[in-house]
């Protein structure tokens, strides 16, 4: 699997370190240093020195100390320190690898193509090599530089968009100047001249603007945004090159942009009415900015730490970088703590408690609950970044389509699980595109309808009853039920004679392959969108609802669970097994009377619940459990619902309701249909979490009517 001898070197070093640590575990502080450990350390020394790794000075120092230790007593801590340094080095390497290639592909698997050894691109620009020298010397520093710079660019973008609505605001101009100045300085210190030059050109413009010498206007904002895009691309290229992948030179774009900036500074803003000065930046960069998974900017922060608060937002608040793996481990451990604590609390031996012990246990429980809440909250981040990307998207789309749009954001501080924020990004972007393309009418149509020429698009996020709700409201066309129905019928998605409620008709837009676009526009594409949007949201255990008034507008409401990690579940007992069913999928539960159950030969068993007939499924049959209750009337039925289909699950008994932490079953078991994961129950056993959608699919198959 390794192509070059060096690729396995880090792993070998890690293995040797493990071996040494292993040896030391079995020895006492007063024992002699085991010869195996000595040998391993010597081997480590050779590998680290001659292996050609860069940036391992800290590791070498620790290694020397370890080699100099005469006894286990001194060796053990030295080895500990060595392991830590080594891990830091590996982390830095990993971070650089994660910054990923600069290609506009949303797929993260692309980096595997590191086997490509074509270096021809670099011949275009010999300076590219020179730039890498200092960065390669200190990978950790390089990682920090790249992550921080991207972060700065992100905030610059936000300020630029604000400036569009309040031009000439001195405070904002300053806010934009500072990060450019910082990026330029850092780049200069690390001799990354390409970044430094471009940042410097923008900095000059902004300096003149904030001191009143230059009238900053739309052209300036345009150029600043283009610079942000180009600089982001350049930084990502740097990351790729550090990870060993070649990238093309961006010199032509850079020089064009620098010239445009200088010209703007020299001649000032063109008079209103004339075309704004726009540098001819190749569309590849522009497209990249729009479609590149903007999570890239987040991801460096994510890979090394979260949350990251901006110093400007919260005076006096500092933050630390934490490895997300450590964070996840912490959350796992806290989860276990809660369970064990709970078991102790319920132990019958503790019934006869003396007062003080009882009080202390209660205190322990309170602290544990608090700890869990805090640990969980570390996974939460505000939706602000996501909304910010929407702002940029709306601006660009509005320009491109010539439809003026007023974007109103609210609730940006609403917190969500960080993975949800990442995953909700694409669906949100798509819905915004859709709104701008299909929802919002061209200016003349709006005026003819008596509407304000500038359309209004409002994105808001808020908490509601254990959920996070995101509303997307536009005052455009609204959904045309007739056209949707007609299209669906013509595409065979719905039977001609079916009677559907208006709501059901609206939900047809989520069917795969559906599109009412007369022509496929550049903006919203080929009707693959809404289906994927719905699936993405469902993957997050969320729901999407539509409210629309023809001629007036549309409102999409996305409802997401507050955290992906915790689930409110109903514990089901089937034989000796325990299952967890998410409460949101449960409609009701009942003990059926024998006459409610209908069994017709050759047909699946059905049960009549009030006036509805629905399929009856024995969970024991589905999962091959032999010691379960046979008769439906001796057990309990739980009615589950997914996308308007219902099924009654037969279980032995309901054992209660519990909040459980969802554990993934691992890659190997991910594909089991009907099972969404595992949960650690109160007695320490694992209960499988059922997936209502999967169960229904399993039983009913994918039916066209839904």
């Amino acid at each position: 699997m390794s192509h070059t001898p060096d690729a396995s070197l880090p792993q070998r070093i890690s293995d040797l370190l493990s071996r040494v640590a292993c040896e030391l575990v079995l020895t006492g502080p007063d024992d002699d240093v085991p010869s195996v450990a000595r040998t391993a350390l010597t081997e480590l020394d050779a590998l680290v020195r001659d292996g050609g790794l860069v940036g391992v000075d800290a590791v070498r120092v620790a290694l020397d100390q370890a080699l100099a230790s005469g006894s286990v007593r001194t060796l053990a801590p030295a080895v500990e320190a060595l392991s830590q340094r080594w891990e830091s080095w590996r982390l830095a390497e990993q971070l650089l690898a994660e910054l990923g290639p600069s290609s506009a592909s949303a797929d993260d698997d692309v980096p595997a193509a590191a086997t490509a050894t074509v270096v021809a691109a670099e011949a275009d620009d010999p300076d590219l090599e020179a730039e890498l020298v200092m960065l390669q010397a200190d990978p950790e520093l390089a990682g920090m530089f790249l992550a921080e710079a991207l972060d700065h660019l992100s905030s610059i973008e936000a300020v630029a968009l604000q400036l569009e609505t309040s031009p000439g605001d001195r405070h904002l101009l300053n806010e934009m100047f500072r990060p450019f100045h910082t990026v330029k300085g850092n780049a200069g210190a690390l001799a990354v001249t390409s970044v430094q030059e471009l940042a410097h050109a923008v900095e000059n413009l902004l300096d003149a603007a904030r001191s009143g010498q230059h009238d900053f206007g739309p052209s300036g904002i345009d150029l600043v945004l283009q610079s942000v895009d180009l600089l982001s691309a350049m930084l990502r290229d740097l990351g790729s090159r550090l990870a060993g992948q070649p990238t093309a030179s961006r010199r032509p774009e850079r020089e064009t942009l620098i010239v445009a900036l200088e010209r703007l500074l020299a001649h000032g803003e063109p008079a209103a009415g004339t075309a704004p000065v726009v540098a001819a930046v190749p569309t590849s960069v522009a497209v990249q900015a729009e479609t590149a998974p903007a999570p890239r900017a987040d991801r460096p922060a994510d890979a090394t730490g979260t949350p990251r608060q901006r110093a400007e937002d919260l005076p006096g608040q500092t933050s630390v970088k934490v490895d997300t793996r450590k964070l996840d481990n912490l959350v796992d451990m806290v989860g276990e703590l809660v369970i064990v604590q709970s078991i102790i609390h319920q132990d019958p031996a503790l019934r006869v408690l003396e007062e003080r012990l009882a009080r202390n246990l209660a205190q322990l429980r309170r602290i544990t609950t608090d700890l869990q809440r805090t640990a969980m909250s570390m996974r939460l981040v505000p939706i602000r970044q996501s909304f910010q990307k929407m702002a940029r998207l709306v601006r660009d789309l509005s320009r491109k389509s010539g439809k003026p749009v007023d974007l109103v954001l609210s609730g940006e501080e609403t917190e969500l699980d960080r993975r949800v924020v990442e995953d909700i990004n694409d669906p949100l972007m798509h819905m915004v595109r859709n709104s701008l393309d299909h929802g919002i009418e061209p200016v003349d149509v709006r005026i003819a309808r008596g509407k304000k020429p500038t359309a209004r698009l409002a994105l808001s996020a808020y908490h509601q009853g254990g959920h996070v709700v995101i509303d997307i409201v536009d005052d455009g066309n609204g959904l045309n039920a007739e056209r949707i129905l007609a299209k669906a019928v013509s595409q065979g998605l719905v039977d001609k004679h079916a009677t559907l409620t208006p709501n059901e008709i609206h939900h047809l837009i989520f069917k795969p392959g559906f599109s009412t676009a007369e022509k496929i526009t550049e903006i919203s594409g080929r009707g693959v969108g809404m289906d994927v949007v719905r699936r993405n949201i469902e993957a997050l255990r969320g729901r999407i609802e539509i409210e629309t008034t023809p001629g007036e507008g549309t409102k999409f409401t996305i409802r997401l669970p507050l955290t992906l990690a915790i689930l409110d579940g109903l514990i089901l007992g089937v034989g000796a097994q325990r299952f967890v069913l998410p409460t949101f999928a449960v409609c009701e539960s009942l003990r059926p009377l024998p006459e409610q159950v209908h069994e017709v030969q050759g047909q699946p068993r059905m049960v009549r619940v009030r006036d509805t007939l629905m399929p009856l499924v024995r969970l024991a049959d589905l999962f091959g459990i032999s010691d379960a209750v046979q008769d439906a009337s001796a057990g309990t039925l739980v009615v589950i619902e997914d996308a308007n289909r219902r099924v009654a699950l037969q279980v032995d008994q309901l054992l209660g309701k519990q909040e459980v932490v969802i554990k993934s079953l691992g890659a190997a078991l991910k594909k089991v249909q009907g099972v969404a994961g595992g949960a650690i129950l109160g007695d320490g056993r694992v209960g499988l979490i059922l997936d209502a959608h999967g169960l229904l699919e399993l039983k009913l198959g994918t039916s066209a009517a839904a």
């Binding site: 078991l669 694992v686 499988l688």
Partner: protein, 169 residues
């Protein structure tokens, strides 16, 4: 049969297999696992069965807050099934599956010792011809009169994982 991207089997002697191994018993054979791959050893505990998975996967278990899969090595090796005894144990191993580190539990009949096996004691593994893929057996060690089969679990489960992914697709 399967096209591995490892080089086709060259004699085990080219890899340095010497080192510490954890030995365990399964049916009538004894096997060895490189000790660096062993995370911990636990007594048999509750394993939750997972439906629709190959028989070799007994299910999942709770390892201090992590849910990890548990493989029944006996079934995996095609040996006749047997009831667990009170010596049955679970060895938690740290594997590399597709570039990720994965923890897995492996059920064995009994755990034996940690042995330091030298290069001289290791011979090439038996070649059963191209029909049976045995890359996961890295060598045979003759120690104190008994023969232990040395295993590379990364290889064993890599193929399993691939097969499962294929089947699920």
């Amino acid at each position: 049969m399967s096209q591995n991207d490892n080089t086709t089997a060259t004699p085990a002697a080219t890899k340095n297999l010497a080192g510490k191994y954890l030995t365990f018993a399964l049916s009538r054979e004894e096997y060895g696992l490189p000790v660096l791959k062993v995370r911990e050893i636990i007594k048999m505990m509750d394993i939750t069965a997972v439906p629709q998975v190959p028989a070799a996967i007994r299910g999942v278990m709770n390892l201090r807050g992590k849910v990890i899969p548990v493989i029944d090595l006996r079934i995996r090796f095609g040996l006749p099934a047997q009831e667990d005894t009170d010596r049955s144990s679970i060895i938690v191993v740290d594997l590399l599956a597709g570039g990720d580190r994965v923890l897995m539990g492996v059920v064995v009949d009994a755990v034996r010792d940690v042995l330091n096996i030298t290069e001289q004691e290791i011979q090439d593994p038996p070649q059963f011809g191209t029909e049976v893929a045995t890359d996961f057996m890295t060598g045979l060690a003759k120690v104190k009169g008994t023969v232990k089969i040395l295993l590379d679990l990364d290889v064993l489960f890599r193929d399993d994982a691939a097969a499962m992914v294929e089947r699920a697709a």
